[in-house]
Symmetry: C2
Amino acid sequence: MDFHQYLEARRAEIEAALAAALPSPPACPASVARAMLYSLTAGGKRLRPVLCLASAEAVGGDPAQAMPAACALEFIHTYSLIHDDLPAMDNDTMRRGRPTLHVVAGEGMAILAGDALLTEAFALLAREPVTTDPAIVARKVRVIGVVAGAAGAAGMVGGQALDLAASEPEHAGTPAFEADALRAMHAKKTGALIRAAASAGAIMGGADDTVIARVDAAAAELGLAFQIVDDVLDVEGAAATLGKTPGKDATAGKPTYAALYGIDEARRMAAACIDRADALLAEAGIGHSRLSEIGRWIVNRSH
Amino acid sequence: MDFHQYLEARRAEIEAALAAALPSPPACPASVARAMLYSLTAGGKRLRPVLCLASAEAVGGDPAQAMPAACALEFIHTYSLIHDDLPAMDNDTMRRGRPTLHVVAGEGMAILAGDALLTEAFALLAREPVTTDPAIVARKVRVIGVVAGAAGAAGMVGGQALDLAASEPEHAGTPAFEADALRAMHAKKTGALIRAAASAGAIMGGADDTVIARVDAAAAELGLAFQIVDDVLDVEGAAATLGKTPGKDATAGKPTYAALYGIDEARRMAAACIDRADALLAEAGIGHSRLSEIGRWIVNRSH
């Protein structure tokens, strides 16, 4: 199976699992279920769940054991997009070519749908896979700790707080400071959850601590490459391809890799990240897995 | 030790544990840490953590094992207040006599601090108590499932969505419909987390399933009593005592127990809830525990 077929097959499984994992009426109000579904089915790349399943597979585990974690990570990613798009945050009215949730359902419901997706992620991680096997139960608790740590104040939420602050004029610094601050912000804002996706897969796949640590380090490189390419595409891209206003970040005065280093250098940096990720995976003895192909997909994608 | 002394001793332990459990710089940005701390130390009653510890104790367990769950529940309660107070929700500018978080830190930071508290609650539940004992690890996963279920789309978030909808004029119904709808809304919005607090304590305390189910049912009665008394105090109370504008819910056109049944009948209903809770606790063989005293505290409180 080539990588494109692999990706499509995994995505189909993920879409089905996401739909099955989402709470629905009568257990929860129809308004909340509808709002969660609107954002969850807005056509994302499913990078985090794909990475989670590929990681479980790479370490010799059963990807089905990692599917609840894969879905939970996509719930959390989706909640973060909903809240980031709010008027009090980035104030985005379009995402992936569709109006954002607060535009169609109102701000209050968008806040609640985000809260619900975040909470349901942990409900899912606690509930599935259904097992009394102490080894698997221990993995579940470890994954919950990793995911919550990555999504919380020291991770994704902290990164968004730094991003909010960076948009304020008094925080603009020298270019050297900006490069470090940019990297630190993205390591939290997007890097932490991408690392958690790969780590969660490795943990549920039964990898030992050394392998988990290397998968985590490789995923940190993938996350950085992902963000650099995102910045490049933001400059290069057309609204039709990205589904959002191109150049928005640069116009908003936010620092970007493309602005700091130029497009060619930024692309070289992203490729170097993938090389380092490959070396880490080779050290872990899983150099020829789908994880490497995901790395190349990240740098070669057009949206 | 009389109940007042017991309550003060437990609260002192809880305050110390909450402060220790909160993430702080340099792990997380100072702005987020400050915002979380502002709302967490705003002078709440600590009902949920007290109930959680008392429940662990009532079933013969060690309350220290339930302290992480107690703190996590207060994190989640605090996040829910922060988000409910937002302009897009209830638009409250004062709570417990102080400006609400979005007034002092901005809406964006208030959304993020709420998100962080919710996420850190699950990080804490996964991390503590630190143990490799399979029986305790299994209890931790069960508690995470119970708490996430209570806080999510079928619980607290769902209740807040129903509350948002109830404020819209087209949803006003007949009085009979209103009474059922009010009860269903509060069962989710406040009842679910109060039940989760008592259940989490019983689970961490090592109770068997029959006892856990009765503690849960008793806590449902306590939660209903709590809400009825809240409505009565909202009508009776002065701004100085409640720290918020009295009669606000009634003025906002929201249905309340006081408005539907009158103050005297509402108080009788709350007392009947406590009687039913006591009967359930007696059935569980824990009739003379602090849980009964918490019930009487709930109905006799003045704020």
